[in-house]
Amino acid sequence: MSRTLQPPGLRAGFLLVGGLISTAALSLIWTPYPAAGINVAHRLQGPSWSHWFGTDGLGRDVLSELIAGARVSLLVGVIAVCIGLALGVALGLIAAATRGWIEDAIMKVCDFAFAFPALLLAILLSATYGPGIVNATIAIGVANAPIFAKLTRSAANGVLAREFALAARAAGRGPIAIAYDHVLPNIAPTLIVQATIQFAIAILAEAALSYLGLGAQPPMVSWGRMLADAQPWLLLSPRLSILPGLAVGLAVLGLNLLGDGLRDALDPKLRGRA
């Protein structure tokens, strides 16, 4: 495969993620109507020139809600992945640098955390602090950390055994300097690929939590909330239940394709595997 001829999956991924980002950016300056603008007189209208995707059960413009929802999904995804990266990379580096029982303990905690999906963590946080988008984002972010910790540790162990890392240690560089100068640049591609996949998982988790009422609270618009609000109107207006789910699906598909494509591009050995 030549470098100029990108695989179609990667290109589709770039297009879909680009669409998501530009939609979210657009929502900052313009939506056809205020996304949370309730107008009961115009509720449950079908698609028309003034409302391309119609209006929902409270008369809100569906297109405006979809555009604004992209922003929430993107923001939750970015913050959750950053939390996961910060925690996970720190834990993974500590594990790789210390070895011995600290490494074992950190890895055992990560194994345990795998049994604890973001949703259960969000449920625990919501039960104590009340539901909200901040708690949901923290829960998704913390649940992201173990996978980054495991990746960082195994990649860092490989890098630390190489000559340049040994040379840096012999030259008297401290562990933090070695991690920053030598380990991180070497494991960055692996982390970027995983971050893309975790981004997709975060968007799915946010949609599920907001659907349950444990994520975005009114008047904040989110695709998950739109799906929850649409359910009473399934018989009258199935469009309201179809469009937000489609938006979530396209965003997640784009991120997954981008992640897979990047992994193949960065590591030809893995091409064609899971």
């Binding site: 055992k108 905690v109 194994d111 345990f112 795998f114 049994a115 604890f116 999906p117 973001a118 949703l119 259960l120 449920i123 625990l124 946080l125 919501s126 039960a127 104590t128 602090y129 539901p131 997709a200 799915l204 949609a207 599920a208 659907y211 349950l212 009422g213 444990l214 799906l227 359910q231 399934l234 018989l235 199935p238 239940s241 179809i242 937000p244 789910g245 979530v248 699906g249 396209l250 997640v252 598909l253 997954n256 394709l257 064609g272 595997r273 899971a274």
Partner: protein, 315 residues
């Protein structure tokens, strides 16, 4: 093998204790006062103190933790604040819906993963493989609860051949299974997509091994080599991922139960959050975590039984 089993059981115990600490810690130390959470911000200090006393919250942390654990071991989980009834039977009643739902969904996911994964691995690099991989990519992208909503729309609203939600109870098993069918499909298909990819890649790896080439050279047919040699070798990693995925399946079930208004554990948890019934949430989450952790230990043991190499390496 006995040493290995003992080791896994010890790890299981340690993990369960750790899990109980985390859950108890998050729910009972961080906020400072569960009674305040239950009664809301408008409650008087006297009523908060009174509730804290009835719930035993005025005892020190260790005493409360030991009360909870010793109660759990004897089947006494305390009394629900909103329902006014013991929590253990409440959870048991809900499990009669949630457990069958999770099991049917897992069976469905495994069936999808094995058939599709084997099909794709047999044709790796060809059209059939690409089609399966593309379909699984779609399965990964679809939120399971949205698939649930779409299934309701198609089979309950348009075709009218399935109930749109609710649960009639197990007195009529056929009706009960009918009520669980759409939720199980919504859960199982998405999990099946994840597991199909895992099955395919584990099989492709096994197919590249030397012993498989030897088997083929000795005249074993391609199909027999795949089923008799590649699949048993690919099974341990597939089982391990299945176990890990079960946690996600359970989390998915919480959401799906709310789509289909099923009176399972997921709905109980959500209602308890809305009612600020901290004790019920605590016990439900601990129960779910304990189940997932125990299941993963069982799968580790099963994988070791299938694959002696794994046992030798880890003990």
């Amino acid at each position: 093998m006995p040493a290995y089993i003992l080791q896994r059981l010890l790890i299981l115990m340690a993990t369960l204790v750790f899990a109980s600490f985390v859950i108890f810690g998050v729910l009972e130390i961080l906020p400072g006062d569960a009674a305040q959470t239950m009664l809301g911000t408008s409650a008087t200090p006297e009523s908060v103190a009174a509730l804290a006393h009835t719930l035993g919250l005025d005892k020190p942390f260790w005493a409360r933790y030991l009360d909870w654990i010793s109660g759990a071991l004897t089947g006494d989980l305390g009394v629900s604040y909103t329902y006014g009834s013991p929590i253990a039977p409440l959870i048991w009643e809900r499990l009669k819906v949630s457990a069958p739902l999770a099991l049917i969904a897992m069976a469905l996911a495994s069936a999808i993963a094995l058939t599709m994964g084997v099909y794709a691995a047999e044709r790796r690099g060809k059209g059939g493989d690409s089609a399966v991989m593309a379909a699984s990519q779609l399965g990964l992208a679809i939120p399971n609860f949205w698939l649930g909503i779409l299934l309701v729309l198609i089979f309950a609203v348009w075709l009218r051949i399935a109930p749109s939600g609710g649960f009639p109870g197990w007195s009529d098993p056929l009706k009960a299974l009918e009520a669980l069918a759409l939720p199980a499909v919504a859960l199982g298909v998405v999990q099946g997509a994840v597991l199909t990819r895992v099955t395919r890649s584990a099989l492709v790896e096994a197919l590249n091994e030397d012993f498989l080439r030897t088997a083929r050279a000795k005249g074993v047919s391609k199909r027999a080599a795949l089923w008799r040699h590649a699949l048993p070798n690919a099974l341990p990693p597939i089982l391990t991922i299945m176990g890990l995925q079960f946690a996600n399946l359970i989390a998915g079930a919480v959401v799906i139960e709310n789509v289909f208004v099923l009176p399972g554990l997921g709905r109980l948890i959500l209602q308890s959050i809305n009612n600020r019934d901290v004790l019920v949430v605590e016990n439900c989450v601990m129960g779910l975590a304990a189940f997932v952790i125990a299941l993963n230990t069982a799968i580790d043991l099963a994988a070791a039984a299938i694959d002696p190499r794994l046992r030798a390496r880890e003990s």
